[in-house]
Symmetry: C2
Subunit: 403 residues, 2 copies
């Protein structure tokens, strides 16, 4: 069906920006198909998408639970998926929770959207990392929030800045409606917030009574380093909404994610979810896939695969970047954040690169304020090794010319 495929390629650009590219360089799949190096987006590697295991899980799920897989399901989500997720969260994240603490959503992006709808009234203050996921930037703006940005460095959220923002608000007699944090392999910076800072974040949020939205979409894709406790666990599950997704460890098209929180918050989030329980059929398939060990095995495979991709990109950057350019060295996830000298404008650079078939994600789209003009995000998840090397070489030449 070539015609439909091409039409879809153009449409995909809108959706990719939901979870991936900056608004300054929204990719279209036509760009992807024609690109020399698609270093933008947050697309999983299509060569690693599970296929046979998903078919097998479908057969298994309908065998065991056929009647219920094909009937209407409960609002908070399919019970088999909730049970399988609770086991996974306990085993992998060290999160102890009950069924009433979970809501199954259409991906983590929907979970963030529901939290925003629950917590943000127009004019409210939201405290957010900056740079951060472009989808959150757009959502907070859409809700009319006044965003106070807190910068991110190699140890994660800048907690001194957070403390200052909270004190500032308190002095004005104001309270933030939420604090939005991506603690592991942050999108877009790739950095991870240290254990020590996490303790401080939880203490500050508790002191100022600010709910934390912990967006942990990339949790399972750790390649190096020790894993710090989740903010949810450190806060004993109080005033934290912990979010995750199957988009990165299984497949984006399965469109399943979760929010974990106290039972009352889950009930309120569920009430906002007007379309009822998320896809019972897909949920049953994902539950079986999780329960029969495929998820764990697939995560191991992805870690090996993506670790190597990351290393290829880091080596390419070492080889090709001119003096004065700095970048992060992520312990997991999909992204590397590059900071250039102030003399290089990233939007102009991104345009020049795109004309040569190399896509990067320009910095401004990741900020709530007008910032990021000398920064950009690279993604190593989608391109092949050769595409990474060639693309980074071209990037190095283009930056050098502008210094």
């Amino acid at each position: 069906m070539p015609n439909q495929s091409i039409a879809w390629l153009d449409e995909l650009s809108t959706d990719l920006s939901k979870r991936s590219g900056s608004s300054a360089a929204r990719p279209s799949m036509r760009n992807v198909a024609n690109s020399v190096a698609f270093l933008s987006g947050g697309l999983p590697d299509p060569r690693e998408l599970p296929r046979d295991t998903v078919v097998a899980a479908t057969a298994g799920a309908l065998e065991l639970e056929g009647e219920w897989a094909l009937q209407y399901g409960p609002s908070t989500g399919d019970p088999n998926l909730i049970a399988a997720l609770l086991d996974k969260l306990a085993r992998d994240q060290g999160i102890e929770a009950q069924p009433e603490n979970i809501l199954i959503t259409a991906g983590a992006s929907q979970a963030v959207g529901l939290a925003a709808r629950l917590l943000i009234d127009p004019g409210d203050v939201v405290i957010s990392e900056a740079p951060t996921w472009t989808g959150a930037v757009r959502r907070f703006a859409a809700h009319g929030a006044e965003v106070r940005e807190v910068s991110v460095d190699h140890d994660g959220t800048n907690v001194d800045e957070l403390e200052a923002v909270l004190a500032d608000l308190a002095a004005d007699g104001r309270r933030a409606s939420m604090l939005y944090i991506l603690p592991n392999f942050q999108n877009p910076m790739g950095v991870t917030t240290t254990a020590e800072r996490r303790d401080r974040i939880v203490a500050l949020a508790r002191e100022h009574a600010v709910p934390i939205i912990e967006d942990d979409a990339y949790y399972d894709l750790r390649y190096d380093g020790p894993q710090a406790e989740t903010l949810y666990t450190l806060a004993d599950g109080e005033s934290v909404i912990y979010m995750g997704t199957y988009s990165k460890n299984m497949a984006a098209g399965i469109r399943l994610g979760w929010a974990v929180a106290d039972a009352e918050t889950i009930a309120r989030l569920t009430a906002l979810k007007l379309e009822g329980g998320t896809s019972p059929f897909a949920s049953q398939v994902a539950a079986e896939w999780t329960r029969n060990g495929t998820l764990q095995a697939h995560i191991e495979l992805l870690r090996t695969h993506y670790r190597a991709k990351r290393d290829v990109m880091l080596a390419a950057l070492d080889n090709a970047m001119p003096e004065g350019v700095r970048w992060t060295r992520p312990q997991g996830g999909f992204f590397i954040w590059v900071t250039m000298p102030d003399t290089v404008d990233v939007t102009e650079l991104a345009g020049a690169l795109a004309a040569q078939g190399v896509q990067i994600s320009a910095g401004p789209g990741f900020y709530h304020s007008d910032s990021g003009h000398h920064e950009f995000r690279l993604s190593y998840s989608y391109p092949t090794d050769d595409e990474i090397i060639n693309g980074i070489e071209m990037l190095g030449r283009e930056i050098s010319q502008r210094l």
Copy 2:
């Protein structure tokens, strides 16, 4: 996992009422499991749920479209499903449309919800059939609509009443925001609006510039009689949002439906759908299932099966109902509507029946106003033949005692 199953049985009651039972008698699956005759709800027959064909379709879909089935998808819905649906709608409903005229939703219930969100501001007038689907009753109330009811008889929507309501509004200088119609095997009355009345409805709506929401969830389940054109077709696709679902002809758990309308309306509905494109994975499976002929074959099977169930219930009613009780004789769908003499209160009756393990759906929940106290809906889709016969016999005795 017995504990999770039992918890889910209790939770299911909330969701069943979304598409089935009246609010006065929300069933729980515990009731279903323990009932003598579950004549409530709008549950499909679990013995007719497709299983092997769904697994086969999953394999086929991932074979052909594996990469895309597991990636992010476009906002309006999976292109393969849209294409398959356009073919089906042209072949079965005689609806000619293009991809830009379709939005894939999480069931027809979500489509109705999006239309309500788009068209209804608090205080707006909505014209609705009464009785009607309980979900619509709740949704219009939730949006703060002022509902003008139009009654339904054996030929469907009462168009003389509709005309009077529209004239009344015009005289007050007001315009209705929408007109909600279920033209085929209406939920809950089971009746079908005639071709002549459909022409008049379309003409009146056009004259008064009122958008029509055509909820056609049961279209494919026709057992007898000729099929009248859809309102959408009669209106040349102008100012009509036509809705359908896979819940009745495939499986409720696949949670897929559609809205068909002019391109601008589809774009506006899509913008309201905050969770992005509906379940790419489930959509690919349903697309394959539709494309490879399984949908058509399954519909034939369901028609044969449900026609027989309807006939068993009609015969049982003929045998068991006392003088003065009337009921509809549906040409399709799941429901029969029963009207009793004014001396019998249906809420008390339903309670007495439930105590004996027989569930019916009491009338009041299907009305926007305080009505329906001597009416109820029966569903023949879920119970076995024996359960139908025994349940109707018990119903007959209980009604007789109250006359």
